[in-house]
Symmetry: C2
Subunit: 351 residues, 2 copies
């Protein structure tokens, strides 16, 4: 070992879902949207200017922030934008979770939370979901240094009601509570309106799922002006220009077509509700997903075996080799055609 | 103060150079390139696909990494890419500077180094430049936890020779040495070849200056496979998908036209050398800049006064209100036409 290695930070790297480069696969493993971005985004793609590329982007990403403020009916000073919601969440961890008390999150949840807590040396405690994989609001009434959970939760897809979240907020006004709404547009209820009542509530959303723009890397947070100004100060302290000119313009354009957005979400919700029937017929059990994926377990065949058999047929789903969930598959809702191909493959595999 | 504020991280935000939104200004304040990106980048802009936008980008940014490896004649495993060189540098600080000994950098240098060291709680010691604003290699032979400097240095523009950098490396093989080559393409000599001899040398470059792509947010580092794998591990621990699909494709396209790149750099170098004559005639003194800016001081008129007078004439340059340099202006090299307008304005102001 070279001597300089003694001072290198040791981390356990996170393994993202596979992004196979082959064509002709059915990709139901990373919760991408099967439909293209709004036509306004496609038009904006054609208008991106080489001259704008030459200059630094607006560090405040003003155009994108204004469009988000208008869409979500809050002030621009209540909005923070970042390079995907991972960037926003990682900054929020570093900005808000500096207590000696543990940050609380579910034991089965987005797999980056414990990775960030470890990377940033933040103490944490994982609160077990119930046997039916639900978050129980009462469990979040112990001393803590902050709370974070996705709603709907990932990879279960199960949502909490606004009133359950309110009860968590009511019991935790001395710490920052982050609700990660990456999948909220597929049928759960957003708690953005609660940011008016609770100045310690940060709601995080992303363009990667409901807005079909994972490739653009755009995430955002909405909260009180106070919370947002803390995030801004931290962000500006290490990279003033995180949002590219393309991201700013494409992100603003995406918000101009509410009808397209609602239609896309509705199609995915319909396909998901249909999938619930089909999966039940195939012998799978699952919670009541409100996301663009379903977390399923088969009555007879082990998840790992189904995972491999699907892969051989060029259908990619997600398998997590982790305690409590190692017999489950997380299956993204694709187009109707992709789902039909999936059901056909499953029938073959399970017969 | 709300009680949750007790655990919020306190930072002093960095103030980036102004990005005035008005048209018809001459912008010589943030070292942008006055020429557009390569025609291949402009073509690629037209080819960006809405369908690619829908999916997560390749987390390894393979296409961009391969293009960089080919261009700089190193292996792909020796390349790390990020959201501008600020992202790369901030990650390098966190990955490599974990000693109790201070990290060394010049007292007059890129203004983010001390901001990052403070933000990440890294001890540091600023080594004074000589009276003529030069880095003296011998000053970097004291116990330390790492070394970083830009070459050419910013905001002075003065470059170190490869042999001087080699002597710093020779004396510091137990720590990571980062050479920030943001401006190297304008006439200094890169030390990328030295990464073959020193596995503790990290060279950082950017697309924001010589490649006219500040708006795309692309930076990269070249070093030994060992150094790069440490950076990768840290990066993947908090955001797997930092490089957008647009950045990956535009960044790769930029490298396909070496002639355009060399021509653009040559034009800026010629304009800079001409500017040295013109500034001298106007009564300014300055070091021998090898960057796309010149750091000037007037024999008679205070810098702040010139700064304000230029601003009134819609010409933006950069003024730093800091010890030792508060009577200097950093002036970016623009097009010949922009520079002529600057000289005319200066003649008027200084007469």
């Amino acid at each position: 070992m070279s001597s300089w290695e003694a001072n290198v930070r040791q981390v356990v790297p996170y393994t993202p879902g596979e992004q196979p480069q082959e064509q002709n696969i059915i990709k139901l493993n990373t919760n991408e949207n099967p439909y293209p971005p709004a036509p306004a985004v496609q038009d904006m793609l054609k208008c991106l200017s080489p001259n704008a590329l030459r200059k630094y982007p607006d560090p405040a990403a003003g155009k994108l922030v204004k469009a988000l403020a208008d869409r979500y009916d809050v002030g621009p000073e209540q909005i923070f934008v970042g390079v995907g919601s991972d960037d926003v969440l990682a900054m929020a961890f570093q900005t808000f979770f500096n207590s000696d008390l543990p940050v609380l999150f579910p034991d089965i949840t987005y797999s980056f939370y414990d990775v960030w807590a470890d990377a940033f040396r933040i103490p944490y405690q994982q609160i077990p979901l119930t046997d039916s994989f639900e978050i129980r609001a009462e469990d979040y009434r112990i001393p803590n240094g902050g709370i974070i959970f996705p709603n709907p939760n990932a990879p279960t897809g199960i949502a909490l009601s606004k009133e359950a979240i309110r009860s968590i907020l009511q019991a935790n006004q001395d710490v920052v509570v982050i609700v990660d709404e990456a999948y909220v547009d597929f049928g759960a209820e957003t708690v953005i309106p609660l940011t008016e009542e609770y100045d310690n509530l940060l709601v995080v959303q992303t363009y990667s799922k409901s807005r079909s723009m994972a490739g653009a890397r755009i995430g955002f947070a909405i909260g009180s002006e106070k919370l947002i100004s803390c995030l801004q100060a931290f962000k500006y302290s290490f990279n003033s220009y995180t949002m590219s000119d393309a991201a700013i313009n494409l992100g603003a354009a995406a918000l101009s077509d509410e009808t397209y957005f609602q239609d896309t979400c509705r199609k995915i919700i319909e396909t998901r509700e249909d999938a619930k029937k089909r999966f039940a017929e195939l012998g799978f059990s699952f919670g009541d997903s409100k996301a663009n994926f379903i977390f399923v377990k088969h009555e007879r065949v082990p998840a790992k075996m189904i995972f491999n058999a699907l892969r051989e047929r060029h259908i990619y789903v997600r398998y997590f080799d982790k305690p409590r969930i190692d017999n489950y598959l997380r299956i993204t809702i694709g187009t109707r055609e992709e789902m039909e191909a999936l059901y056909a493959a499953l029938e073959e595999i399970l017969k």
